[in-house]
Amino acid sequence: MAYVAVRGGTIAIEESIKRLKFERVKKGAIATIPSIEGGMRGLIDQVMSEGSLYSETLAAIAIKQAEGNPEEAVFLLRAYRSTLPRKHYSRTIQSEDMLIERRISASFKNIPGGQVLGATPDYTHRLLDFDLIQETEEEARQWLSDFQEIQEKESDLRDLIQYPKVLDYLRKEGLIADCDNQDQEPDDVTRKSLEFPTSRSQRLQVLTRGQTGAVTSLAYAVIRAYGSVHPTVGELRVGEMPIYIDNPINQKTEEDDAYYLGEMKLTEVEMLIPVTVEKERGKKEIEFEIGYGICFGQNETKAIAMGILDNCLENKNPQYPTSDEEFVLFHIDSVESSGFISHLKMPHYVTFQSKLDSARKTKRQENASQKESNL
């Protein structure tokens, strides 16, 4: 058969794009960028994390354009990112330098520095608050002003920077083996495609920019039935991390000569994973491994899930798909997975017609054979 190119969709496409705008504005009210930045922190954090680009304002614009659809917003953010030059690499950040806003452990009740709950919905009743229908900006400003005016007792003046790490405490106790810094320069999956087996830096980069739902679901599968990991949150911290670059003009690397760029909010999780190891004379002992998770913004479930998958991919248990690098790393990226699935709705006229031709031909041959046998 001959394939014939078709055209004629231009006007329909133009009208479809107008229709999209109509859907966004048809109620006569629009979400402003400040209102999205002010009231959609959770969505902004998710979009920045999956988009692998830290900018609350750009994420807010993407959310507005995508009408709140996270996969579309992430696509927009990634597309914009690809138009920008990468100017520098940051100095290596370490979570000890984080200004803590929240820091908890599910493994130890009494941790050095204590459990600081910060802002979390964990202890709310999850009942819809219908008062929010009537909330005005004036009321919100008044509440904020009252909240900020309350003078707190200066009973605890602990600095929330350089807050003690639970892991350091466990390493000092000898409960977790310490290790030296590994200073090998990381690979970058945005510059070189994944090849298997992957390096640790590639795995962590793909996990941290993974789709929240996909990362969470796979980690849930690990714990429920498709893994042998029984983890506990050793430490979860949320806070502001300062970012610096070395002096690019004089190529100096002294810390004091660095440029400060600002802060970004991160969630970091260290999962403690008990493993049974066989010692001398067949004696079995429990030791702890660590699964590491970190994301842009306050994305606690994703960071925990990343920590679980990190451990699975390190141990590579062939029994489970969640330990298979290709299975996990090739399927958790928002743009790749949603892009591929959604492309199925794009015109496939030619490929489908080809299959239909084959089906018709087979049918005709079957009918002809049937007639012959009936004669």
Partner: protein, 141 residues
């Protein structure tokens, strides 16, 4: 004052301070812009705590600008889209790099602003620490 501390104060402090300091230079010296404020990315490198290895966690959106005063280049770079502040930071950086006399008078103003930032941070911290749990011990562990 060293660059790290100075840029922390100018970015975390009042925007007026950066504007005032830059103005003092712009009105008295020939400031040549060699790179207009423009947007770009900085890739963030992290040291993770499980194996203490490094990886790239994503990029932060920045504005960058370069100026030149008396042959010395100044760089201004700041998170987010802020052309004005990036330019002011570049001017201040160039003023320090060329060693202009004004910079010696800036130290006390920068230290004053730093004090204000520290006080603000203490207030914010005391609010966060109100969410610290005081366990009532019900057993020995």
């Amino acid at each position: 004052m060293k660059r790290k501390r100075r840029t922390e104060i100018l970015i975390n402090g009042s925007k007026e301070l950066a504007a005032q300091l830059a103005d003092e230079i712009i009105h008295h010296y020939d400031v040549e812009t060699i790179e207009e404020p423009n947007n770009g990315l900085v890739m963030v490198k992290v040291r993770e705590t499980a194996k203490k290895s490094m990886f790239y966690m994503g990029e932060v959106f920045v504005t960058e600008c370069k100026v030149q005063i008396n042959g010395s280049i100044g760089l201004g770079i700041v998170k987010s889209h802020d052309h004005e502040l990036a330019y002011q930071l570049a001017v201040i950086d160039a003023a320090y790099n060329v060693g202009l006399q004004e910079t010696s008078e800036w130290t006390s103003r920068l230290l004053g602003e730093e004090e204000r930032i520290v006080e603000q941070r203490k207030t914010a911290q005391s609010k966060v620490l109100k969410t610290k749990v005081s366990f009532e011990t019900m057993d020995d562990e």
